[in-house]
């Protein structure tokens, strides 16, 4: 056999005259070894010809699947599952946000306020902070890069413990109410008007594969949602800008939607609204 059989070189380009054509074919087939994939993808970003070659193979191999794979009717319940995941609520991206959130207007404000106040007591108790000074504030202020790892480590104590609020005592808390027909969503949010620190606990809920939760502010009287960020496994903590801070303090709604892994590609919620709540002053 050829010398290549003994120990494959990292790059085969040119060895057998196939060069990038064959490499792109291997890539599209998913046969390329992992270390080569990374190098290849790096090249793809810079080389239009390489991208064109990848498209070339994609289109032609797809013909095999189109022509040679037998159709099989999927179970009927799957369509329901998919539609519920995508449009679980009666809303679409073409409807006004106000319409999409119509269900939520009926939630009792009194109940929500009571729930948020109670939630805050629980959070204060569990975190041992808020009411006044944050004992770690100075230390963290001098080592800002350490913040995330510190809070992540703390969270290993309890999966539901929220990340610590940043500097400044929380001034608002939000109780998220799960959307009807959506899987229950449990999430705690506190906000400090003083510092602009927004802290969101990790969410407890079920998500379709490949989806993440993103949190939004809908300022009072507005139909446009502003993204506050994606809620990761350790929750979310960030300092928000003055515009968002003003929206929270003024009683704008905070909504949670499910989105593609990097968050909504459009800047507005594209997935199902999973829950919503209003900030309650503490």
């Amino acid at each position: 056999m050829s010398a290549a059989d003994a120990l494959g070189p990292p790059e085969w380009a040119g060895e057998d005259g196939g060069g990038d054509n064959a490499l792109a074919g291997e890539y599209v087939l998913g046969l390329m070894p992992e270390p080569e994939v990374q190098a290849f993808e790096k090249r793809m970003t810079d080389e239009p010809d390489l991208r064109a070659e990848v498209s070339y193979w994609q289109l032609r191999f797809a013909v095999l699947a189109e022509d040679e794979v037998a159709s099989v009717r999927p179970p009927g319940r799957l369509k329901n599952r998919i539609q519920r995941s995508l449009f679980g609520l009666p809303w679409t991206s073409s409807q006004a946000l106000r319409e999409r959130l119509g269900w939520w207007r009926g939630v009792s404000m009194v109940a929500m306020t009571a729930a948020a106040a109670f939630l805050t007591l629980v959070l204060q108790d569990r975190m041992g902070l808020p009411a006044g000074e944050d004992p770690d504030a100075t230390e963290r202020a001098t080592a800002p890069g350490a913040q995330d790892s510190v809070s992540a480590a703390e969270q290993t104590d309890s999966a539901t413990a929220p990340a610590r609020a940043g500097d400044g005592a929380p001034s608002h808390a939000v109780q998220i109410t799960s959307a009807p027909d959506a899987p229950p969503l449990t999430l705690a949010i506190v906000f400090s008007a003083e510092s602009g620190a927004l802290t969101v606990s990790p969410a407890t809920t079920s998500l379709p594969p490949g989806r993440v939760l993103e949190i939004w502010l809908i300022p009072p009287g507005s139909d446009a949602a502003m993204s506050l960020g994606v809620i990761g496994e350790t929750g979310l903590r960030r300092v928000v800008g003055p515009e968002i801070a003003a929206g929270i303090v003024a009683g704008g709604s905070l909504a949670v939607s499910d989105e593609p892994p990097d968050g909504s590609p459009t800047g507005s919620p594209t997935g199902m609204i999973r829950g919503i709540g209003v900030p309650v002053a503490l």
């Binding site: 993808e41 289109l59 797809a62 794979v69």
Partner: protein, 188 residues
């Protein structure tokens, strides 16, 4: 000249995808009804497990809904686009289950395919379709079978090498030679 059945279907699917891109849930429902059996077939062939194929199909339609607005009618034919997404989702799932981890392989390879430059891709949708089958037919039978095993069944070099009792690098040489022959035939 009346449109052929395939051309009519292509136009209708293009319109449905365009409407999905504008958030039309009714269009999504119809697109699903018309394409899910083909895409489920693709996923099932690769995953060989109904539950896993259902999950892959769900991810496929999530992708389709999310990317419909970026689908370009001067690129791949709609069914080619859909099949490519379905295969990616199924292969991604297969790889993760094989490795027992959650690291997706080749993010770009699994990304929603972008439309190739117009005329080139248009060709792929019509006469190139026959050409692909013809060129596959020109490959030695066992080599064409290798390509099919990888594309349609998601086999890896390691699996093929074990089945044919050759070193992995020998298998890779075979596959690359098959791809080079196929590419030369397609370019003729």
């Amino acid at each position: 000249m009346p449109l052929t059945q395939r051309e009519t279907e292509r136009l209708e699917l293009e319109q449905l995808i365009a409407r999905c891109g504008r958030g039309d849930e009714g269009a999504f429902s119809e697109l699903y009804d018309r394409t899910s059996a083909k895409l489920y077939g693709v996923a099932l062939r690769i995953l060989k497990d109904r539950g896993a194929a259902e999950d892959a199909l769900q991810e496929t339609y999530f992708n389709v809904w999310g990317a419909a607005g970026r689908f370009s009618t001067d690129g791949a034919s709609p069914i080619t686009w859909l099949v490519t997404i379905a295969r990616h989702r199924a292969i991604d799932r297969l790889r993760r289950s094989r490795r027992g981890d959650n690291v997706p392989i080749g993010a770009a390879a699994l990304a929603v395919p972008t439309a190739a430059p117009g005329p080139e891709a248009q060709a792929a949708a019509s006469s190139e379709r026959r050409r692909v089958e013809a060129c596959m037919g020109e490959l030695p039978k066992d080599r064409a079978a290798l390509v099919r095993a990888v594309y349609l069944d998601g086999d890896s070099y390691a699996q093929l090498a074990a089945r044919h009792k050759v070193p992995i690098n020998t298998m890779r040489s075979w596959m690359r030679r098959a791809l080079i022959s196929l590419r030369a035939c397609l370019a003729r």
